[in-house]
C-alpha cells in the first residue's frame, strides 16, 4: 500500500510482457487495457516504453519486441521477462482473505471451487507466514435466501418475495425484478425494481421470509437505476417533512446510520447531538424515537412527541394493572 502511481505503474510494466507471453496468439488492445484496469491510451504508452527496454547491450536483438497486427498485439521477444513478479504480502492478504470470506458464504459461490482456488492461491503466494493474514473478514450473514436470490440474478428471472417491513411492522408480498446484490455494513441487500411500488427498493435478505424464482424474465424498466451507495442506503426525497431530534450520547449512532441534514453538538443533554432527518414516513420516525427509549427527544414535529408519549402511557397503564 505505497503511493499508488509509482508502484502501480511498475507492477503493470513488469506484468505486461509475461501477460502477452501467456497469450501467444496475441490480445486485442482494448481487452488488455481492461484486464489491467487502464485506458487504451495508457496501455499504448506502457507498450511504447517497454519496446525500448531490454537486455544490457541494447542492440536490436536485445530489446523487447512486440508485433502489432490490426488491433492486436503479441510479444515476439521477452528479454527474459516470462513470469510476473511474486505476490506482495498485501496482494496475498487481499486474495486469501477475500477467498476465505467467500467460503463463509455458501450461497454465493460453489464451495468446492472456492476451496481449490484458495489452496492454489495460497501455494502460489509462497511464504506460509503470509497465509496467517493480519486481517480477517467475518460477514456472518448466512442468509437462507442468498442462494435463491443469486439464482434469480444469474438466470435473470423475476422473484416473488414475502418481505417483512420493520418500519410498518408488517409482512408484505411482492414481485420484483432483481438488479444486484449488495453487502453493506454486514448486511446483504437485494436491489430490485418493485413492480407494486413502481420503484427501486432495497430488500434486506434477513427480512425475506420466503422467496421463489419465477418463470418470467426479470425486466427492470429503463428508469430503474442503481443507487450510488456513497449517498447512503436511505435516500429520502428532498421535499419530505423534517423531523428534529436531540440525541443523547448513547443515541449518537443515529447520525451515522441515517442521512441527517443538520447536525450540531449540544450541551443539553451533555455530549448530545441535535440532528434533522427528512422522512415522509412518520410511522418510521415514531418507531425510531420509541426504540431509543428516551435517549432521543423530539424538537419537531410536536405531534410526533405526543404520539410516542401517548403510546408509552397506554403501555404503562397495562403494566400498572
Amino acid at each position: 500500500m505505497t503511493a499508488p502511481s509509482t508502484a502501480e505503474r511498475m507492477t503493470r510494466l513488469l506484468a505486461l510482457v509475461p501477460y502477452l507471453q501467456a497469450r501467444p496468439d496475441g490480445v486485442r488492445l482494448t481487452d488488455a487495457a481492461a484486464d489491467f484496469g487502464v485506458t487504451e491510451a495508457q496501455l499504448r504508452r506502457d507498450l511504447d516504453l517497454l519496446w525500448v527496454c531490454g537486455l544490457p547491450g541494447h542492440g536490436p536483438g536485445d530489446l523487447i519486441d512486440l508485433a502489432f497486427e490490426g488491433d492486436r498485439v503479441r510479444v515476439t521477444f521477452t528479454a527474459g521477462m516470462v513470469r510476473p513478479l511474486r505476490l506482495t504480502t498485501d496482494e496475498a492478504v487481499a486474495l486469501i482473505v477475500a477467498l476465505r470470506t467467500l467460503l463463509e458464504l455458501p450461497g454465493l459461490a460453489e464451495g468446492e471451487a472456492v476451496s481449490r482456488a484458495l489452496a492454489k492461491v495460497s501455494a502460489a503466494a509462497g511464504h506460509p507466514a503470509e497465509v496467517r493474514a493480519p486481517v480477517a473478514v467475518s460477514v456472518g450473514a448466512r442468509e437462507q435466501s442468498l442462494s435463491v436470490v443469486r439464482a434469480g440474478l444469474e438466470r435473470e428471472r423475476a422473484l416473488h418475495l414475502h418481505y417483512y417491513v420493520p418500519s410498518r411492522d408488517e409482512r408484505t408480498e411482492r414481485t420484483v425484478d432483481p438488479m444486484r446484490l449488495l453487502l453493506v455494513d454486514g448486511h446483504w441487500y437485494l436491489e430490485a425494481w418493485c413492480r407494486g411500488a413502481e420503484g427501486v427498493r432495497l430488500f434486506r435478505l434477513d427480512r425475506i421470509d420466503e422467496v421463489a424464482v419465477l418463470d418470467e424474465p426479470a425486466a427492470p424498466p429503463p428508469q430503474a437505476l442503481e443507487r450510488d451507495l456513497d449517498d447512503g442506503l436511505y435516500q429520502p426525497g428532498a421535499e419530505a417533512p423534517v423531523v428534529r431530534l436531540r440525541l443523547a450520547r448513547t443515541a449518537r449512532w443515529v447520525a451515522d446510520y441515517y442521512p441527517v441534514e443538520e447536525l450540531a453538538e449540544v450541551s443539553d443533554p451533555p455530549g448530545g447531538l441535535a440532528v434533522s432527518v427528512r422522512t415522509s414516513d412518520l410511522a418510521w420516525a415514531r418507531r425510531l424515537v420509541a426504540s431509543l427509549g428516551g435517549a432521543a427527544t423530539v424538537d419537531e414535529p410536536a405531534e410526533l412527541a405526543e404520539q410516542v408519549a401517548a403510546e408509552a402511557r397506554a403501555a404503562l397503564a397495562r403494566y400498572a394493572d
Partner: protein
C-alpha cells in the same frame, strides 16, 4: 512517475534477472541506460549514487527480491542480482470456476481498504495466464466500509508486527485515553472493523472498534517486535468479546401485532386475556428492551422481572416526551 525513470527501472530488472553473478554498481552504471555516466567528476558519482539508492528502494518497495552479495572472494565490493526463483510467481492454473471464484472474491475489496492490492494481485494472476472474466457472473457489490481512516495504520502495524499507540474513546467515557498495543490483526466482523491485539498497559488481549479510535494511530519501534499467539483466530477473538449469554424472555402480544417479534419467536399459545404468549431469545437484552418498549401497548413483558423493569423504565422516559403528561 517519469517515463525515463520507469524505463531505467525496467532495464535494471531485466539486467539483474538475466545474470547469476552479482553485478557491481559500477557495471550497472555502464550497462543500464539512464544512469549518470562516469565522467571522472565527484558530482557525477554522487548523482549516480543517489539515483541508484532511490531505484533500489523503489524496487524493494514493490516486492522485487534484490539480493546483495559477492560472487567470489576476489570481488572488492558488493554486487546485485535478482534470483529468478525468488522473483517469479510460481505456476498457477485455475479452472474457469476457480478463476470466477477469485474474480468474485476480489470484488469484496472494491472501494475498500485493500482495493489497490486486490487490483495488482489480479494483474499478476492475469499475467500468469489466468483468465479472470470481467463480464460474467452475477451483479454484486460487496462493500466493506470504505471510510475507516484508522484501518491503514492498524493493518500495516499488524502486518509488520510493530507496536502501535492510539487514542481510544469508549462510548461510556467522556474523553479518549492513550492505548499501547501489540497489534495482531484487523477484523471486519458483522459490518464493523476491529483491531485485535495485546494491550501493553493492561497486559491482556483486547479488542478495539476502529470507529472509536480518535486521530491516527502511530506505529513505533522495530518490525517483527512480537509474535501473535500461534493458534490465533482473529474473527473468533472478536466474536468472543461480543458474545453474551443467551436469555429467555416471555412476552404477550396482541393478536395481529408485533409481526417482527413473531418472526423469531416460539409461540406458547394464548394467554387468558386472548393475547399471544411468545418466547424470545436474546444475547443483547438492552437492545431487546428498546425494541419491546417501541411496541407500546401491543406488547407486555411477562418475565423475567429484570426485563419488565427495563421496559417500564424506557416507557416512563418515553411518556415524559409529550408536553401534556
Amino acid at each position: 512517475m517519469a517515463a525515463k525513470r520507469a524505463e531505467r527501472l525496467v532495464n535494471l530488472v531485466i539486467a539483474l534477472l538475466g545474470t547469476r553473478q552479482y553485478v557491481s554498481a559500477a557495471r550497472i552504471r555502464e550497462t543500464v541506460p539512464g544512469y549518470e555516466p562516469d565522467d571522472g567528476t565527484e558530482r557525477a558519482d554522487e548523482a549516480f549514487k543517489r539515483m541508484f539508492e532511490r531505484d533500489k528502494a523503489e524496487l524493494r518497495e514493490i516486492g522485487v527480491p534484490l539480493e546483495t552479495g559477492r560472487t567470489s572472494a576476489f570481488d572488492t565490493e558488493d554486487g546485485y542480482r535478482i534470483a529468478r526463483t525468488d522473483y517469479e510467481l510460481p505456476e498457477i492454473t485455475l479452472t474457469g470456476e476457480e478463476a470466477a471464484a477469485v474474480g468474485l472474491a476480489l470484488r469484496l475489496w472494491q472501494s475498500a481498504q485493500l482495493a489497490g492490492a486486490a487490483q495488482s494481485a489480479l494483474v499478476k494472476l492475469r499475467a500468469a495466464g489466468v483468465e479472470v472474466d470481467r463480464t460474467r457472473g452475477i451483479p454484486i457489490q460487496p462493500r466493506l466500509d470504505a471510510g475507516e481512516p484508522a484501518f491503514e495504520p492498524c493493518y500495516a502495524a499488524a502486518r509488520d508486527r510493530r507496536e502501535l499507540a492510539f487514542d481510544y474513546r469508549r462510548p461510556d467515557a467522556d474523553r479518549a485515553s492513550r492505548r499501547r498495543v501489540q497489534p495482531w490483526g484487523v477484523v471486519a466482523w458483522h459490518g464493523r472493523w476491529y483491531l485485535v491485539g495485546h494491550d501493553l498497559d493492561r497486559q491482556a488481549p483486547r479488542v478495539f472498534r476502529l470507529s472509536r479510535v480518535a486521530g491516527m494511530p502511530k506505529a513505533s519501534g522495530p518490525a517483527a517486535a512480537f509474535e501473535p499467539p500461534a493458534d490465533l483466530d482473529l474473527a473468533s477473538v472478536v466474536a468472543g468479546s461480543e458474545r453474551r449469554e443467551e436469555q429467555l424472555v416471555v412476552v404477550r402480544a396482541r393478536p395481529g401485532t408485533a409481526i417482527g417479534l413473531r418472526r423469531h419467536a416460539v409461540p406458547l399459545g394464548p394467554a387468558e386475556d386472548g393475547d399471544d404468549r411468545l418466547e424470545l431469545r436474546t444475547t443483547e437484552p438492552w437492545s431487546l428492551a428498546d425494541q419491546l418498549a417501541a411496541h407500546g401497548p401491543d406488547v407486555l413483558v411477562e418475565a423475567p422481572q429484570r426485563m419488565r423493569e427495563a421496559v417500564v423504565e424506557r416507557l416512563t422516559r418515553l411518556a415524559a416526551l409529550g408536553g401534556a403528561a
